[in-house]
Symmetry: C2
Amino acid sequence: MDDAGLIEIAREVPAKSLKAPSTVSPQLRRSISGLAAAAAAGGGLPKGWTPGNAEEWKAIIAQMDAQALSVAPALAAMFPHTSQVRQIAGVTVRDIAPASQDPAKSDRLLVHFHGGGYALNGGEASTGEAVLGAHYSGMRVISVDYRMPPDHPFPAAVDDALSVWRALAQERPASAMGVFGTSAGGGLTLALALKLKDIGEAFPGALATGTPWTDLTGASDSYQVNAEVDGVFSNFDGFAAGMAAIYAGEAGVTHPLVSPIFGDFAGFPPTIFTTGTRDILLSDTVRAYRAMRAAGVTAQLEVHEAMSHAEYIYAFDSPESAVAFGDIARFFDEHLSD
Amino acid sequence: MDDAGLIEIAREVPAKSLKAPSTVSPQLRRSISGLAAAAAAGGGLPKGWTPGNAEEWKAIIAQMDAQALSVAPALAAMFPHTSQVRQIAGVTVRDIAPASQDPAKSDRLLVHFHGGGYALNGGEASTGEAVLGAHYSGMRVISVDYRMPPDHPFPAAVDDALSVWRALAQERPASAMGVFGTSAGGGLTLALALKLKDIGEAFPGALATGTPWTDLTGASDSYQVNAEVDGVFSNFDGFAAGMAAIYAGEAGVTHPLVSPIFGDFAGFPPTIFTTGTRDILLSDTVRAYRAMRAAGVTAQLEVHEAMSHAEYIYAFDSPESAVAFGDIARFFDEHLSD
């Protein structure tokens, strides 16, 4: 059956006023209400707007990174750790050791790619999720500060990811390392694995992709359904589509290392996916999960009530965040091997 | 932390026009467009309306059951089977043998509870999902035509479920039987297991709950987010809330055998959950899955792109439906033991 004769009828959904539900923790309710308040105050980017040139990109990136950094002290106070800036294979990384480090896991290592649409959250702003991953897993984390647009479009991020990975894989078995990341970092996690498969090098022992940006064409259904519902990432059109375009550059958004949904996941290592019911990337997540299952990969899908995109990072004081990172830590415990 | 000082701010979501996405099969796209067309034609129940007395309930139930039955010939043609009406322990059941029956699984049996808000889809209208489950599993299915309101409110459905279960469990090990159902049938699947736990009787080998109605209070976030998005079950307020009230009766909607989310799932058998990103019971499903995981139960969550409530039953010609039932069949294969 094809689309011949299919008459497209759209579903008309009326305007809504969404309350923070009673079905989540007070901490998550507070986060949901806070995001709604920010939206109501009109503090975000103008709807549909995207920077017009490199200077505008750099200005807005600097502004948004400063905003992301503002929560770092509270996060550091709650999740004690040391963080050391290093270079590995010419790439800047942050080497994070949690106070909770488990000596029994000293042969293991996690590699982290930050989110931010392949444009935001570079530098010090990159490590919030890495600290949480280190804390909950009890493992050391190497968080990769990969190069980004506007100066460095694709494939710079994938090249940097691969360079760091290869250097680390010379010092320990690939199977003793896990790779994780959220949003663009989840997409880059999948892109690195696709690249390793292409060049015939060993996979990590397991992957954890949080609400991964797997389809930069914007085709996923949740871009419609959860537009303006998601409190963190409200719309694809405009700024996010702009980030997709400047990241993809000449390769285009359908390149499988840009949009991993167009890649072949057969043979992939075990992978855990994390998302939420309000997540604008719910469909990007679910589609990649389904593609892995169809390819026979061991995959696990975790969905959290009323959570927006990556909110398990931002609502780091919530029990739901602890559950999300606890599931990821347990998944690495089960699937990494020294 | 409690809610002290929490200022509730609602998220304002503008009206939307949702297209059938390009990310699903032509068959599912056709189903999504068909549901949107039905909504556009205003063919559903008046918004917010619920019957006022038993006579009105019976009239609308008869009308909706006739509508549900209209697809039975097409489904039967595609999934050949025999169906025999029997009585087990005084309860009407349909004993369904698929043409695909696998002799290697003849010691196993599936028990099915139909959906329909504990009010609809009785009699011949009850067996669509049972036929699909039988076909994809290659197993015989006993589909229970449990008593329903307005004449028979809770606990009649649970009593009937238990009576049939006990009779079947006298003839074979409980572990050789799986129980499955969608919507109210998914809720009843969980309620039966809670009841078996209460009375100290053996669990089924595994459970499959499709988009289960686990919280009849209507608190789940997806009742807001996916209201008028879901093409099958558009709103809780009105008719669905009415079904919840006439089913619960004097026990009330917070009774754990009415709303299993208020029960304790510790010790439950392995359970697979199926839902979709447009499902109005996405949150009812996710919350029950999370509660099982928190209780240490082996649980698996399957979410399908752009699917509305129970659409894997209605879009039975779609490859997505085959995947959903294939996952359920495989789950029973893995977890039942003769």
